[in-house]
């Protein structure tokens, strides 16, 4: 592998600098670096960030390869500027054994576009009844640190308590999908003004908030850390804020779509807007943006959830929940957080790379852009504006809520340990 010189990039949005990559690492960061025999990329004022890290991706393999595979999912991740993704456990079979997590981990290695860090299921078959072999998954080649029954809530308080306690032995973390199951039976969308009118089953905010409240108290009681997936309500933000002020070791994520879209879109009955947790209200969106800005919410996670066309080209009630997000995440964050002045690019790097890597205990990601660090980098053309065209997605699925919507920013280059996975916006 040769040398690459990225010339004139605004590192973390600062003054233009040159970054020299040698092999798998960053060799030098400064101004006026001689190109020598290095291949030169004229950054021309583009933003250089550490490679993005997603703590919440559904790669669907094994089991639902018709919607995504590890290969197509990691290609989508690379296009979106990601160098590492955490693959959620709700596959078929469920990633609840060392065998399955190692298989996913190995497929990620083979893909070469993006590191894949498997997430292990908390309970066997995601059924919430019996702890999966958390230790074995950690001890496997996949070295699992994050455990989640995502898609389902670990609703049994005792199982949740035990899981929180058990993973302390190997510095693991439970990522909770907070959804009280009884309060969300038959739920189709946010419960409120719009659901009342549309006659769709309501998913009340309290079903999320009550579980978060319980879990931060459990985490405090047993002295564990806990991570909350995809916060979607203003009330959840308040609970996390309170928990952090008490010193509870809780981290939280928000998805790009919950920072932009509201339940008003459901009036179209277009299932592309059907997602779990559901799109909430304008007030929730604003509270989530503020919380991400002030650090109450630690990270952005995509909850990239690919679904085949037929699972969305149907009536609302029959449609699958979820949206793809890897390839639009950074654009949505620029649109909702950077262009609005809520976050600097340095803070974007923090929320989308540094902190997710820290929560997942990833050693080689979310590092500073400085000499000696692994060359996991993302170059962003923040001046770009253009409509989202799902036909051009690297993901196998097209279920984006942004089709045709004009969004800012585009990843032009992604480097995974010094190797370009994306060049000029296209897969290398």
């Amino acid at each position: 592998m040769g040398k690459i010189l990225i010339r004139g990039a605004k590192v973390l949005g600062g003054e233009p600098q040159d970054v020299l990559i040698d092999g798998e690492s960053i060799a030098e960061v400064g101004t006026g670096i001689e190109a020598g025999d290095a291949q030169v990329i004229e950054a021309d004022g583009k933003i250089l960030l550490p490679g993005l890290v997603d703590l919440h991706t559904h790669l669907r393999e094994p089991g639902r390869e018709d919607s995504e595979t590890v290969l197509t999912g990691t290609r989508a991740a690379a296009v979106g500027g990601y160098t590492s993704v955490h693959a959620m456990a709700n596959t078929f079979p469920v990633a609840d054994t060392a065998g399955v997590v190692e298989q996913v981990w190995r497929l990620g290695k083979e893909s070469g576009y993006c590191d894949v860090q498997p997430v292990g299921a908390v309970t066997v078959g995601l059924e919430g009844k019996k702890l999966a072999e958390l230790g074995a998954m950690h001890d496997s080649a996949a070295n699992v640190r994050v455990f989640s029954d995502d898609g389902k809530c670990v609703d049994d308080a005792v199982i949740m308590r035990r899981a929180l306690e058990y993973v302390k032995a190997f510095d693991g973390v439970v990522a909770q999908h907070a959804q009280e199951p009884r309060l969300t039976e038959g739920a189709q969308m946010n419960e409120g003004v719009v659901s009342a009118e549309l006659g769709l089953g309501g998913w009340p905010a309290v079903a999320e908030e009550s579980i978060i409240a319980r879990d931060v108290l459990l985490a405090e009681h047993v002295g564990s850390r806990v991570h909350i997936c995809h916060l979607s309500t203003a009330g959840s933000v308040e609970i996390i804020r309170w928990a952090k002020s008490r010193g509870i070791d809780v981290t939280a994520e928000v998805t790009p779509h919950h920072l932009l879209l509201t339940d008003e879109l459901v009036r179209t009955y277009n299932p592309v807007y059907k997602v779990n947790p559901p799109l909430r209200t304008e007030r929730d969106v604003m509270a989530l943006r503020e919380a991400l800005a002030d650090g109450t919410i630690d990270i952005v996670a995509t909850d990239h959830a690919p679904h085949p066309h037929e699972d969305k080209d149907c009536e609302w009630g029959a449609a699958a929940m979820g949206m793809v997000g890897l390839e639009t995440a950074l654009s949505v964050i620029q649109h909702t957080m950077v262009d609005t002045g809520l976050l600097t690019w340095a803070q974007v790097a923090d929320r989308m790379s540094v902190r997710p890597a820290a929560i997942g205990r990833l050693a080689g990601h979310g590092r500073p852009v400085s000499a000696g660090e692994p060359a996991n980098l993302t170059l962003v053309d923040s001046a770009y504006r253009g409509p989202v065209d799902p036909a051009g997605f690297a993901s196998r699925s097209r279920n984006t809520p942004y089709e045709g919507r004009e969004l800012p920013g585009r990843v032009t280059h992604t480097f995974l340990r010094g190797r370009a996975t994306v060049v000029d916006g296209k897969l290398a």
Partner: protein, 328 residues
């Protein structure tokens, strides 16, 4: 009018009055020796029912047949739909058969909206009840019945006070009626135990009360909704007896209604639950009339949607010179 009838909220006052006026004319056909009009000859109307509802289906069927349309009944039970064929594939089949209108009853809220906007079919879509969303022809026949009983069969329902009692949360009839009756100038009050009122109801253009006795005396019409006994098991109310005592309409309560006030029920009735036999069988109860009126309303809707090369223009009837010189 729009090309489809999906929601009562889509109807303007003029649209609604035009439908009611047209239904009045259709009702006269029922009194004739030959209850049939040639108007929709050669048109095909498909009744696409994903949910059992013999009453609604035969009402639409009778309406279409009286207008001489060809009627195809497509019931999801025992058909390819229950074997996993999607709504989309079913729609494409109907389109290939040349359906001019699809009357759809579906267990999912929004399915008719989806059918109308997805581009799967070219014909008109008439919502015959979707999930817990809307049932616009039911609201129209209710309004028609009230207009006959309370407003001399003309104009709108301006200032009339209508009380709707029962399972508002799960009722498509209530949702459509709130929209339509308000459009027609009526004042609507919903009465239910708080568990059966949707969160978010505060934006609806109506009042909400938990006390039936407080509103009876000032109601021109009281519409009793069917309350499914299964709701009790989901803890919406403790027992049938308690529900009937607090929210059921019995003779004693009916006696406290104004003399001219009517009792309505969309059927089928749970006698002894939301309504006692005494009330159901009294001349003040319009349940049977509502069924009769349902056919007239559905004829009117089909005529106005399919009777021309495009749906009727809902200009107020002051410009009555619709006949062209050429055709005299």
């Amino acid at each position: 009018m729009k090309r489809h009838l999906i929601s009562a909220a889509d109807l303007s006052r003029d649209d609604a009055v035009l439908i009611l006026d047209t239904a009045e004319e259709m009702a006269r056909v029922a009194d004739r020796p030959i209850k049939k009009l040639p108007t929709l000859r050669g048109r095909t109307v498909v009744n696409l029912f994903f949910e059992d509802s013999t009453r609604t289906r035969i009402s639409f069927e009778a309406a279409a047949k009286r207008l001489s349309a060809d009627v195809i009944n497509f019931s999801a039970k025992g058909s390819s739909v229950s074997k996993g064929e999607s709504l989309k594939d079913t729609a494409l089949t109907l389109e290939a058969m040349g359906a001019d209108a699809v009357v759809i009853r579906h267990h999912d809220s929004g399915a008719p909206h989806r059918l109308a906007t997805s581009g799967w079919i070219g014909g008109s879509v008439i919502n015959a009840g979707d999930g817990t969303h809307e049932h616009p022809t039911q609201a129209l026949l209710d309004a028609f019945t009230m207009r006959r009983r309370l407003a001399g069969g003309e104009g709108d329902l301006n200032g009339r006070r209508i009380t709707i009692v029962g399972d508002i949360l799960h009722s498509r009839v209530a949702r459509s009626n709130v929209h339509l009756l308000t459009t027609l100038g009526a004042e609507v009050t919903l009465v239910a135990p708080p568990t059966l009122v949707p969160v978010g109801v505060e934006t609806w253009p109506c009042e909400v009360s938990y006390d039936l006795d407080a509103v009876l005396a000032k109601s021109d019409a009281v519409m009793m909704l069917r309350v499914q006994r299964e709701r009790m098991n989901a803890a919406f109310f403790p027992t049938e007896r308690e529900y009937a005592r607090r929210y059921g309409l019995d003779g004693e309560r009916m006696a406290r209604m104004p003399e001219h006030a009517v009792v309505m029920h969309p059927g089928p009735m749970n006698r002894g639950m939301e309504i006692t036999a005494e009330v159901a069988d009294s001349p003040r109860c319009t349940a049977v009339e509502q069924v009769t009126n349902g056919v007239s309303i559905r004829m009117a809707v089909m005529y106005l949607l399919l009777g021309g090369n495009e749906p009727a223009l809902s200009t107020p009837s002051t410009t009555s010179t619709t006949r062209t010189e050429e055709s005299k």
